[in-house]
Symmetry: C2
Subunit: 193 residues, 2 copies
């Protein structure tokens, strides 16, 4: 039904913006409802709890985030090492935006570290695992080995860059991470250049 879909989408949209901007613990359900232009009761009609809303927020970002990464990868010129580095370079650009506040998945996981069974934590883990799997496939297809280990190490550099760039408010960490990723690829498979 249209009204439902529309209202639900507006709530989710407001939640995404506020949760990412302020952090899930610093945003009240009232604030989300107000930003969406609905009453709190309406929000609770569409989502049974704040925890569910938080999980839905991350779920909604899962595919778009992945799609953006793969788009950068596909669009980049050169071989796979260059394409991997392109992801870091693009993220460095994004991180320059004043509204950038790190990775929403990582930050939510950090906030909910005391609640490992929280639905949002599971969504976050699934998102990160999905990207690692996708990357391993790309490396494997390109003949870069060991694809799985390499993918994991690149993910580590990526998550580290999210954290360090946020800590120091300096996108240069993404550049250094991208260089490290390229170095690792080249080091394991020097022939591929």
């Amino acid at each position: 039904m249209k009204p439902q879909t529309d209202t639900r989408a507006r709530i989710l949209n407001a939640a995404e913006k506020l949760f990412y901007a302020e952090g899930i613990g610093r945003v009240s359900v009232d604030a989300v409802a107000a930003a969406a232009g609905v009453t709190k009761r309406t929000l609770y009609y569409h989502f049974t709890s704040k925890d569910e809303l938080i999980a839905a927020y991350l779920e909604a970002r899962d595919q778009p985030n992945l799609a953006r990464m793969t788009a950068w990868f596909v669009a980049a010129e050169g071989g796979v090492p260059a394409k991997v580095q392109a992801i870091f370079d693009e993220l460095a650009k994004v991180a320059r935006h004043p509204k950038w506040k790190g990775c929403g998945f990582l930050r939510t996981t950090a906030e909910l570290a005391a609640l490992p069974g929280h639905p949002a934590v599971k969504v976050g883990a699934r998102h990160k695992a999905g990207f690692e799997t996708w990357l391993a496939e790309q490396l494997d297809v390109a003949g870069l080995t060991p694809a799985k280990l390499l993918a994991r190490q690149i993910i580590l550099l990526l998550d580290g860059a999210f954290s360090a760039s946020l800590t120091h408010r300096d996108p240069a960490y993404f550049i250094a991470a991208g260089q490290a990723a390229a170095t690792l690829v080249a080091c394991y498979a020097p022939k591929m250049k």
Copy 2:
């Protein structure tokens, strides 16, 4: 005076435990005071605000954390690459403990991402920068170049391992990060082995 020091230390000790275990946003000042066995008013006698208490919590962890890292580095057998890898291996052990919940500095920075000027965020940035500087020196002394870039990339792997291990509740990410660090060192300076 002894009583003051003692009380202040008890409050700080309670804050460290609770803030790390639950996250700064999920722990009330009342809870810290209760855990320390003092009234809230007494807590506010020693700390002017919760924000100051949070900053003091990280400040108190700065030196001990650094000391633990350097101790692992010093105690490890072999050359600098092996010593670097030892830090990751030791962290993997620590991460197996059920009470382990990632890096307190990173988690606090993530929670306070909306407040870049927060005193605790500054303490976190200083802590991470301090470790990066220390590591660069160790690499430089050992003749491993480029020491600064290498140190930064190893820090990125470290922060990534904190994040990914927390996300997946799997210390294996520390092992993979340690291998990546060793690979990078070997790759830049293959002669050093």
